[in-house]
């Protein structure tokens, strides 16, 4: 009995190690890593690509933007991913890291936009809110309500405390944890802008950036802001069962659940498809992917995958990515990036 098991185990080992060497010398599928925000869009493209061509369907890991850059920049070779998705632009330090590891030529592709919505249950009234209101409701330290250029721990309990015109309801916001790209974007586009509405805070961004960040980037921890984990579906469910609460998540989840939740207009603009596409809705972020140029001719199907992603059928205003909730770029921008992809124009530097 044991001899048999041992023989089988040894056999499997030999077999797999033989397989392994072949897997190491060549990879016949595209390996993609990166942002969980881009994941739902990239996977649709990958599936379409896999079904309509003879190439294998690319493998897509959801590692987060930062994790994606780390893996992507680790080096050139089949053991490293070919493409990384990102919900923010690559940082210059990350690009340097890439180059230090031999990843010289990187092609940057912007694919569209994602809106971040501030939403509540359709069972409750919608609330027209400004970024300043959100900042005052959610920051850990807020400017002294009595005036003066100093901050006090956030005293506001209800929305009415923040702004007389808002309803008298407890502040209760479900949002992503600090590890999430959505949180980064939210802090940058809402909290910072809200803070900037106070001149003296805005001035701090030039004079004392660490103090500025402490004010504008720090979310309160006294229970008014609830970190709800990375699962946006969970936030939707919780909003459905608690009409007093608001949630922060990506537009695609609003798009899929319009019967349960509604997006609050921010600075007077409703989070609609069109408002995000034309840039009038203030809380939207660009989505990217980055391609390792050295892999384009090595891994089969790379060019075709890029073609599929940048085709009008996919990222165009009527494309299937739009059905999944992505906001397309304006025509000019689309043409620009489409042409860059065709030429495999490499990214020289980022500011």
């Amino acid at each position: 009995m044991f001899k048999k098991v041992a023989i089988v185990a040894a056999g499997v080992f030999l077999l797999t190690s033989a397989q392994m060497t072949s897997a190491q010398s060549a990879r016949d599928y595209i390996s993609i890593v990166g942002s969980s925000t881009v994941y739902p869009f990239a996977t649709v493209v990958a599936e379409q690509f896999g079904k309509t061509t003879d190439y294998k369907t690319p493998k897509i890991e959801s590692t987060g933007s930062g994790g994606g850059y780390k893996l992507f920049c680790a080096g050139v070779g089949v053991e490293h991913p070919d493409i990384t998705n990102a919900s923010r632009r690559i940082k210059s330090t990350e690009l340097e890291q890439c180059q230090a590891n031999g990843v010289q030529d990187v092609v940057e592709v912007k694919i569209g936009y994602d809106g971040i919505v501030f939403a509540n249950s359709t069972k409750a009234d919608s609330m027209n809110i400004s970024r300043k209101d959100i900042f005052l409701a959610l920051a850990k330290e807020v400017p002294d309500p009595n005036g003066g250029e100093n901050t006090v721990p956030n005293p506001y309990k209800t929305w009415k405390d923040v702004n007389e015109s808002l309803p008298d309801k407890k502040i209760e916001v479900l949002g992503p944890p600090p590890t999430s790209g959505t949180r980064d974007a939210f802090v940058e586009m809402v909290m910072e802008e809200g803070g900037n509405s106070f001149d003296w805070i805005k001035a701090l961004s030039k004079s004392d950036s660490s103090k500025y960040k402490a004010i504008a980037h720090t979310v309160r921890e006294d229970g008014a802001y609830i970190e709800a984990g990375e699962n946006d579906n969970l936030i939707v469910q919780k909003l459905d069962s608690n009409p007093d609460a608001f949630g922060i998540f990506g537009f695609s989840f609003l798009d899929q659940n319009t019967d349960k939740i509604q997006g609050a207009p921010i600075d007077g603009v409703e989070p609609t498809f069109d408002a995000i596409a034309d840039g009038s809705y203030p809380v939207s972020r660009p989505l990217y992917f980055y391609v390792k140029k050295a892999h384009v001719d090595v891994i089969p199907g790379m060019k075709e995958y890029l073609n599929e992603f940048t085709s009008e059928m996919a990222w165009g205003p009527d494309g299937y990515l739009v059905d999944k909730g992505m906001i397309p770029m304006p025509d000019a921008e689309r043409n620009q990036f489409g042409a860059d992809v065709k030429d495999l124009k490499t990214l020289e530097s980022v500011d």
Partner: protein, 433 residues
């Protein structure tokens, strides 16, 4: 209790006293006994209630996923579209669309036509393609075919979309509702068993998504885990229990094995990333690496249960073997090990069941990924069942909610089968000494 009975009166008094004391205490004793029984029983009832709730909610959410809505379309396999040299790349979506359009000839305008096309799944075109490639004779004929409906239509038919909410807040427009009702009146809509759920890999279209890829990935991963962890675990248990000298070193080893059993599984994932991927250069996302990592995770369980099983073999059997001149190895291999094997198998199956439900360590080695193709070997990129559940739970489409629950039902099914096997083995081979 050295009460000596010395006088006559004592004869009467002492026993009476004892009985009185005992009787007085009896009620209290029984009360506390009842209280204890009640507490135990209510604990069991509480856990059963929670278990039932869990099962009820999962099954309630998930059972609908085992049925899928289909639409009957009369497809004309147009020989002008399906020419000999482009059979695999022909415009199959066009066939579906023209058939739909012919059902509602008065629909016009790009937007409306798009809405109409949206009733049928993107997968329908691939279904037609497969049919034509299998049987080119179909070209030129018109066939009545049940094709997969889109997930929104599916949700409507299953009652997950409420017709009463205003149109603006609904995934299905009033126009689409009227078409669906027409189709339904014509008997062109029906639900049938969702075979795709068991034969397809992952997909971003809920109506096409299946668990086959994840199930096969789990299978390969568990095979690697079993082939490595069982022999290594059994050999370690036998050596530690039967042969190793009892000294400080073996004490340290024992403490460490027990510690390993309690280490959070993510740590094994980090170890796997460092050792198997970065150092040994094994491929990412492969069942081979997943199996190696899960082997590390299940080994302590198998070794500990294996040692317990070896310990439970009575010394009389060992003495019997030694007494007629068996060497120590012969004693272990011929008598002790065969008797301990059922217990070891039980431990192994429980360890495997644990491994089957694990996601955290696989995150680190790239098995949390979107993988459509069903893996064909130990080094193909693949994912596993619990990871598939995790990924679906995070998808925005409403229809993934029921599929998530359905996948959980399947996983629970596997776990129940494995644990039942363990119980059966224990019952079947258990010996009373």
């Amino acid at each position: 209790m050295n009460r000596k009975i010395e006088t006559e009166s004592d004869v009467v008094i002492y026993p009476k006293k004892t009985m009185d004391i005992v009787k007085r205490g009896l009620a209290r004793r029984y009360r506390s006994e009842r209280r204890f029984k009640f507490l135990g029983l209510s604990a069991i009832v509480a856990s059963l209630v929670f278990l039932t709730l869990l099962f009820a909610s999962i099954i309630g959410n998930g059972y609908t996923a085992f049925w899928q809505t289909f639409i009957r379309l009369d497809i004309y396999f147009d020989p002008h579209i399906l020419t000999k040299d482009n059979l695999s790349r022909a415009n199959y979506p066009g066939l579906v669309k023209s058939s739909l359009h012919s059902l509602f000839p008065d629909v016009s305008g790009r937007r409306n036509l798009r809405a109409l096309d949206g009733l049928v799944s993107k997968g329908a075109a691939f279904e037609l393609r497969k049919m034509v490639l299998n049987d080119p004779e179909l070209i030129g004929t018109t066939q009545s075919i049940w094709v997969t409906a889109d997930d929104d239509l599916d949700m409507l038919v299953k009652g997950h979309i409420d017709r009463s909410v205003p149109e603006i807040a609904r995934r299905i427009s009033n126009l689409q509702l009227s078409w669906i009702d027409t189709l339904s009146d014509q008997g062109r809509i029906r639900k049938q068993f969702n075979t795709a759920f068991f034969t397809n890999g992952d997909s971003r279209e809920p109506e096409l998504a299946g668990i086959r890829g994840a199930a096969v990935g789990s299978f390969y991963t568990l095979i690697v885990t079993l082939l490595l962890s069982f022999p290594i675990g059994v050999a370690s248990a036998v050596y530690l229990e039967e042969f190793a000298p009892k000294n400080r070193l073996t004490d340290i080893i024992e403490v460490n094995i027990n510690n390993l059993a309690a280490v959070p599984s993510i740590v094994f994932g980090l170890l796997g990333l460092a050792v198997f991927l970065n150092f040994a250069g094994l491929p990412r996302s492969a069942p081979l690496v997943g199996g190696l990592v899960l082997t590390l995770m299940t080994l302590p369980t198998i070794i500990i249960s294996g040692r317990a099983a070896l310990k439970s073999v009575p010394p009389s059997i060992r003495e019997g073997a030694l007494g007629i001149g068996a060497s120590k190895t012969q004693m272990v291999m011929h008598h002790v090990l065969p008797l301990a094997l059922p217990g070891m198998l039980t431990g192994t199956i429980i360890g495997m069941a644990q491994a089957l439900g694990e996601t955290a360590p696989l995150l680190m080695i790239g098995m949390v990924a979107f993988i459509v193709d069903v893996p064909g070997g130990f080094t193909d990129p693949s994912t596993v069942l619990p990871v598939q559940i995790f990924l679906w739970a995070d998808s925005p489409e409403r229809a993934f909610v029921e599929r998530t629950s359905a996948a959980i039902i399947v996983l629970l099914g596997f776990l129940i089968v494995m644990n039942a096997t363990a119980v059966f083995l224990r019952k079947r081979f258990e010996r009373r000494w």
